[in-house]
Symmetry: C2
Subunit: 324 residues, 2 copies
């Protein structure tokens, strides 16, 4: 089964969540409405809601309840993107102008705050305190992760461990709790919810590693933004960390890095990209992503065979190999 | 009784909350820790925690419970200040460098997000869903208010109503729910909590009006920042709205406003300030603040005589007349 088939199966429910996302962001305030709708319409894979829906199949599947975690999780993700675009000075995302470039940094900052506040509002419809505790812990780690990203900009000496901790906070935790909260909201047993967390965490790690590979290997058309945008922001990702370990490449890569940093990323990075592509770094990163996918799938081992499990495994495989 | 006496009476408890604020912001992350501690040490009246403490006296007064609303409320306030300083391009606040000026805008944005996330984390220690609903609604209105502020920058034709709605969202709601949540967290009867809300709301309105008067009439020493910073950001406050109604002043004020806007606030505003000071606007704004104080005190009418009530009335009077 392919990813598209899972989306087709869930189509009605995804559309329902999409509608709820739209409704949740409605406001009389024109700029806030336009900026958030702009963001919503720019698309996205809605991977977090999809995981919520799938995980909820392990309990009592009631969209009217599940939406109260699916919607906030996507909103929190969106809100973090708006703030990231300010930090990254990003002009486009998903092929569309970013809020900070269509409007400005200040509007982007407050639009992020607004979307985040809306997320909290929807979440309070659920009374289970566990939901709130899990969510607030993840949010805290996300904000630390965002800051960590700044601290490590252009730090060529960072370790694989530094990188992994960063993407855990930046990406994996929110995907992990999407799976976990989907199960919890549906009243699935705690053991299942824990399995879901572990599955989501490992899938999330692979997802971000894949994303970082794509930023180096993808085309502008595939990415919706020019390749190399990570390094232009100073974001040193795992293929680069691996490539820097290669004796024959290290010095040249370091001097390119230094040049890019001196020009504050406003420079041609094609030589840097070619060097990394020509290294073993890409392959090693792909292997690492695959290891996380394997771990994700192993996390599902104790769960009985079911169509839900099959779908989760399919999504995991897709993420492990995705090329867009 | 003077305000200082109430602070003296509550001194031990305020110190306790202060300590909890410090603990709550602790992190291994150096920049986040330094930036948040910097903010904390810059001081502030801690008016929101004080209202929580007072309102909690209407129920079971247990600091170990009450702190879970007092701390988040102050943190949310602090977090909004950090983001506001980015928007306002403020160099100093309370006589200290702002986070955005000591570090930079990006760090300020994420420090705000971080402090906010910490607030949510502390709040989840309380399981009463009502607390979360009240908080999330107020937060949402705050973010809309922040955006509204931008929309009304330099709009000379705005009405008193526009202004009042803005300060409601920006200031009054958070003070209102500080009183309300203090009562709720302590298990006070719903009727008392509603009275507290109404008291806090009206005090909050007066508080912001007073703040806006001070920005025009205070000295740099009193304010911790140069007077006229509101108008330099384009923030048209109630004394100005009133002054613009005076036929003999209107045209001159409008042309000064236009000049200030054209120079993007990077200009001498002393003539503008003198004109407003020389108008009836200050007195009218003071009257409006007094009306809100009267309403706040009337909201307490149904409550029995007590030392808590006396203290609330004293604070209200102080805020109605405050000159720093």
């Amino acid at each position: 089964m392919k990813l598209i088939d899972i989306y087709v199966k869930l189509k009605k429910d995804i559309s329902f969540i999409e509608k709820e996302l739209e409704l949740s962001l409605y406001t009389d305030h024109q700029v806030l409405r336009e900026a958030s709708v702009h963001l919503l319409k720019a698309g996205g894979k809605r991977i977090r809601p999809v995981f919520v829906l799938l995980a909820a199949q392990y309990g009592k599947y009631d969209l009217q309840v599940i939406k109260h975690v699916a919607v906030p999780l996507e909103l929190i993700h969106m809100s973090s993107l708006v703030h990231d675009d300010v930090i990254d000075d990003a002009e486009t995302r998903r092929g569309q102008l970013t809020v900070k470039s269509k409007w400005d940094n200040k509007i982007a900052m407050y639009t992020g705050d607004y979307i985040f506040a809306k997320a909290l509002g929807v979440l309070t419809k659920l009374e289970n305190p566990l939901v709130h505790q899990i969510m607030s812990k993840a949010i805290l780690q996300m904000t630390i992760g965002e800051m960590e990203q700044i601290r490590f900009f252009y730090h060529a000496e960072q370790t694989v461990r530094d990188y992994l901790l960063r993407i855990k906070r930046k990406t994996a935790l929110l995907i992990a709790i999407s799976c976990q909260l989907g199960a919890i909201a549906a009243g699935a047993p705690e053991k299942v919810a824990n399995r879901m967390y572990s599955f989501g965490f490992n899938v999330g790690m692979a997802f971000q590693i894949r994303d970082d590979i794509l930023d180096l290997c993808g085309t502008e058309e595939e990415l919706g933004k020019p390749p190399g945008s990570d390094i232009k922001q100073g974001n040193i990702t795992i293929p680069v960390i691996f490539a820097l370990r290669e004796g024959r490449l290290k010095d040249e890569l370091l001097s390119e890095l230094k040049r890019i940093q001196e020009e504050d990323g406003q420079t041609d990075v094609s030589r840097f990209i070619s060097m990394v592509r020509g290294s073993e770094g890409i392959k090693q990163a792909e292997q690492l992503a695959s290891q996380y996918i394997d771990k994700a799938i192993r996390a599902l081992d104790p769960l009985p065979k079911s169509s839900t499990k099959k779908d989760l495994i399919s999504i995991a495989h897709f993420i492990g190999n995705r090329s867009y």
